[in-house]
């Protein structure tokens, strides 16, 4: 397994790990160094990496991936309610159940390709969302969302409103107030929660890297390239597609369970088409088919949602306070279109600008910078760098 990766891959792993682990410090200048946003970076990074295993490698665009995120969250919260507040069983259950769910949906949807596949996945996800919001309320607690509760005092209280936590009860673990998710006693909120997510992100990134460099990954890329030819080469493509779909569904389930682990609530709107669309946007924004791109895209969108939306006029005023009064008023006026309540506008423009000027997403931008840098070095008379010769590693 370790032979999977080349030296440059290990270097990539090392750099990625270093960046993720140091996020609490490096994110400070842009005001993103607080646990919740960092957790979201990691969680949606996992979601996008998983989505990219399907979309980036096989070219199959699922428009219903949020369903697996939602299922993962529900599974995790039910594990908290029924078994234990320890996060490991929740994690295992979520991944397992999301995997089964993905298998069922994938088995059916993958009978079709192209936009027909996209609409099938969308249809399944929307059905899940609509039912979870209304008819399935006994399981999902509907609009309010499924939450952990104190241990119920009598069997008359429904399981939605009172937990049983069989394992914790058997072990005689005492609870005070709101039950808190933990990893063998270590609280999974705040920074410990972030580091737990970060470890998961690094593991997920590593697995995705391995998949991308493996025989299996090459087959997936071959599907994207020319599925028909692959059939004549003796490969049955459907099992590969289903496997990729299930793996990426399990990633989504893992992301869903981490959402529940860092914040024990699961709501139906996690399954809505807008949530599915969000992960598509994250992936395309960062760079489809690249390894790092989806994580970057996820970070950018979550940053916009959390931080850009919070820059109200007061913050703008102090940001531009170095300007003379008239100019300050002008800039505050101008920027207030794009931040605070206007953060959607920024997002919309960002999508357009990136796709117009950087087809291939943010990673394309980095590649261009890299190339320009290399050219500059060569024209200085320096020796040609090795990087220019490395054959398209990052495409993986």
């Amino acid at each position: 397994m370790l032979r999977t990766l080349s030296r440059s891959d290990w270097l990539l792993m090392a750099i990625f790990t270093a960046i993720v682990v140091t996020l609490p410090w490096t994110m400070q200048p842009i005001g993103a160094a607080y646990p919740d946003l960092l957790q979201k970076f990691a969680i949606y990074g996992i979601f996008a990496i998983g989505f990219n295993i399907l979309f980036g490698l096989t070219g199959y665009l699922s428009f219903g991936h949020a369903a697996f995120l939602g299922v993962g969250s529900y599974a995790a919260v039910w594990s908290f309610k029924l078994l234990t507040m320890n996060v490991l069983p929740a994690l295992a259950f979520s991944v397992l159940i999301a995997g089964v769910f993905a298998f069922l949906i994938g088995y059916v949807s993958l009978r079709r390709s192209g936009i027909y596949f996209s609409i099938l996945t969308l249809a399944f996800a929307q059905m899940s969302y609509n039912l979870a919001y209304s008819v399935l309320t006994p399981i999902t607690n509907g609009e309010t969302g499924l939450q952990t509760r104190a241990i119920r005092q009598s069997a008359e209280i429904s399981l939605r409103d009172g937990d049983i936590r069989i394992i914790d009860q058997a072990l005689g673990i005492q609870e005070f107030g709101v039950p808190i998710t933990n990893l063998f006693g270590m609280k999974m909120s705040g920074y410990p929660g972030f580091y737990f997510c970060a470890v998961m992100l690094i593991v997920c990134f590593f697995v995705a890297l391995c998949i991308s460099r493996s025989n299996f990954g090459m087959m997936l890329k071959a599907i994207k390239s020319n599925q028909n030819r692959l059939n004549y080469t003796g490969i049955h493509t459907r099992p590969y597609l289903i496997a990729a779909f299930v793996i990426s569904g399990m990633y989504a389930g893992l992301a869903g369970s981490l959402l529940a682990i860092t914040d024990p609530i699961a709501g139906a709107e996690r399954m809505q088409w807008t949530a599915s669309g969000e992960v598509v946007l994250m992936t395309i924004l960062g760079g489809v088919g690249t390894l790092v791109g989806p994580v970057l895209g996820a970070g950018l969108i979550k940053y916009a949602e959390q931080k850009v939306s919070s820059w109200n006029e007061g913050i703008l005023n102090s940001a531009f306070s170095f300007l003379p009064d008239g100019a300050q008023a002008f800039f505050v006026e101008l920027f207030s279109f794009f931040v605070g309540e206007g953060w959607h506008l920024t997002l919309g423009f960002m999508f357009m600008v990136i796709v117009i000027f950087l087809p291939g997403g943010l990673m394309e931008g980095f590649r261009r910078i890299g190339r320009a840098f290399n050219r500059a070095r060569r024209s200085e008379g320096g020796r040609t760098t090795v990087a220019a010769n490395t054959p398209a590693q990052e495409r993986g």
Binding site: N215, F216, G217, K221, K224, G234, P239, A392
Partner: protein, 272 residues
């Protein structure tokens, strides 16, 4: 007369079993029509173990349809294709390939986003691992034996300098070489070649002929569809001539050269 020979072997072919080693492919009374137009009718054909069998014929004779029937792309209206004891008719393309039938496409159908090496490794892995294997952790980079083998084939087809090039960057001729390499790497029991030299310069054509001759010595059975009579007569052990969806002649190159029916069919179209 080859047609007589065909009827003779046909009698034996009805009771075809894998125990008879010299008949690898048996095409049994295949019919196919598209919208009332008979593309193939009453086609019976045997391909012997180790031989290079050329199928020639004027344009629209049904050569490509016949090939497509063999690989499962087209379902015949009637009749069957039997390969090494297995009926191919009704099987899906990947199953047919897994039985040992590989196809080289006329217009290159390579994996444009993959490198040349990867393009060749895909069929190699398919041969080794079967039609599906979930191996997300077994690294491409760790497949040294298959990698060496693939590199060898790539060198053989003359793509030595392009091993790590992305397939989409290859010239059309190089893509055809790659196609050939993808067929050869599987060491199939039967290799179906659809005009392997079409569009190649004479020099390249000769190189391809040499390469195919080499393989012949290795004992691989081949069916070639070809327009270029130079190629056909350099390679073929036996030749089947199709015209209007029917077999009009079959026999050794010498027999075919002198067959009046063939001359008639090709009159003004090809110089032999």
């Amino acid at each position: 007369m080859s047609v007589v020979e065909l009827t003779n072997s046909d009698a034996a072919g009805r009771g075809f079993t894998s125990g008879i080693p010299d008949k690898v492919l048996h095409i049994d009374d295949v019919h196919k029509s598209f919208a009332g137009l008979h593309a193939l009718s009453d086609v019976d054909l045997d391909v012997r173990q180790g031989e290079t069998h050329a199928i020639i014929g004027p344009n629209g004779a049904g050569k490509s349809t016949l090939l497509n029937v063999c690989v499962g792309r087209i379902k015949p209206d009637r009749g069957a294709v039997i390969f090494d004891g297995d009926t191919l008719t009704g099987k899906s393309p990947h199953e047919i390939n897994q039985l040992g039938v590989a196809r080289v496409f006329q217009t290159p159908e390579v994996f444009l986003d993959l490198t040349v090496l990867e393009n060749v490794m895909v069929p190699a892995l398919s041969k080794r691992d079967g039609h599906f294997k979930l191996n997300p952790f077994s690294a491409i980079a760790g497949e040294t034996s298959i990698r060496n083998e693939a590199e060898e084939v790539i060198v053989n087809v003359g793509l030595k300098n392009h091993v790590h090039a992305v397939a989409s960057s290859l010239s059309r001729g190089d893509k055809r070489r790659l196609e050939l390499a993808m067929g050869l790497i599987q060491r199939p029991k039967l290799l179906l070649l659809d005009e392997p030299t079409a569009g190649m310069a004479r020099h390249d054509t000769n190189a391809t002929i040499d390469l195919l001759k080499q393989i012949k010595e290795g004992g691989m059975t081949k069916v070639i569809i070809e327009h270029d009579m130079h190629v056909v007569f350099s390679l073929a052990d036996r030749i089947t001539v199709l015209a209007g969806g029917r077999i009009i002649a079959q026999g050794s190159p010498e027999e075919i050269k002198n067959n009046p029916k063939v001359k008639e069919a090709y009159l003004g179209e090809e110089q032999v």
